[in-house]
Subunit: 220 residues, 2 copies
């Protein structure tokens, strides 16, 4: 009996310990927020406002920045399930529809990521002075890339991501002002002046990458 | 009378607005914490644990990292008021005393820094999910350098600093696990095997820079 109790206590402690260790997590499916992205090798600096719908696999992005010292502004709606990306210009009332041949990547810590450290940004000495976050590392073998991700412990919200690879150098993204939920569901509906019925010609320009989708200028 | 009330209300609103705008601030005078520093041009990566006494102008640093792919470990006590730096080795029971010719730089947002943005790292949608911080920018004309600093709104704690200059490239420091107060006041007292009475020969090696102080190897 004594042995059984000891064993139960040990098991309980073990389960508690396992439960307390951070695990890879998924971000809330509906979010709006801002991010800044630095990609030195591509001479790219982007500041974005975005609406993210992980359920419908839809992302709307309003991006501004500089690409090779040329400033740009982009309004992009990516519908991953339909495999379509719209480059929208309200000023010109134009809309370019292109094929989007890239798998939807939800905001999450990959399930095979390794916990590097749990840290507090700022301090735990006073209320509102610190943020508990987890640092994750991992590899993407098929792209010969490594990633370093920081997500909040509570809420599983992205704080920053760093991708490094021989091919691309490094891409650093920092997230902020995140709000859980969608402010305007119309963000994911193409405006009236977009011809949504127009078929996407596969022989035409095809966007195969998230960043490429962002950077193709609306050259209509 | 009506005019006077209107004027008073306007003044009150103005004062409130001014009070709500973030102002450059000083960090708590006593702190312990950790930081990581990246200085690509110097091929330097450092991870530090530090004790900081802004009142006594004393900093103790336990640093480990790589410098030109050579790993190093340093235990350094900087006494800015006395103008002395000790490079301590408990393993060898040795202690190198050098002159420290650098002005103490308290942890603070410089008074002439410009507010770039107030942002929330993470989210304000749930408790413990976000951290309100202020981004500051400024110039150091005498060093032809620019700085970008992020400090918490509550507590004025450092989150990150970025220095850029033509001469050095960029130096990025990220702070975490800060605790207000000093864990061990003995951190600032040289160990017994340090000959504190030994005069510092001004003709000898002189450390004129904080980073230099950190990187001089204990070559005794």
């Amino acid at each position: 009996m004594h042995l059984l109790i000891s064993f139960s206590v040990c098991l309980l402690l073990a389960v508690t310990a396992v439960a307390q260790k951070p695990h890879p997590c998924k971000s809330p499916p509906l979010m709006v927020g801002r991010l800044s992205m630095i990609y030195p090798r591509g001479q790219l600096f982007v500041y974005e406002r975005f609406s993210y719908d992980g359920l419908g696999q839809r992302i709307r992005v309003w991006a501004q920045g500089t690409n090779h010292n040329q400033s740009f502004y982009e309004d992009v709606l990516m519908l991953f399930r339909e495999g379509v990306v719209y480059h929208i210009s309200y000023r010109n009332q134009t809309c370019k529809k292109r094929a989007l041949k890239v798998r939807f990547q939800p905001m999450e810590v990959p399930h095979n990521a390794t916990l590097q450290a749990q840290i507090i940004i700022g301090s735990s000495s006073g209320p509102g002075q610190g943020l508990l976050v987890n640092n994750w590392v991992g590899e993407i073998p098929e792209k010969q890339a490594n990633y370093y991700m920081t997500f909040t412990e509570f809420g599983c919200l992205p704080v920053s991501t760093l991708y490094t690879s021989e091919q691309y150098g490094w891409i650093f993204t920092s997230f902020f002002n995140l709000v859980i939920g969608i402010e305007d569901p119309q963000d994911f509906i193409p405006p009236d002046f977009c011809d949504t019925t127009k078929p996407v010609d596969e022989g035409e320009e095809v966007v195969t990458d998230f960043f490429e989708a962002l950077l193709r200028k609306d050259d209509q």
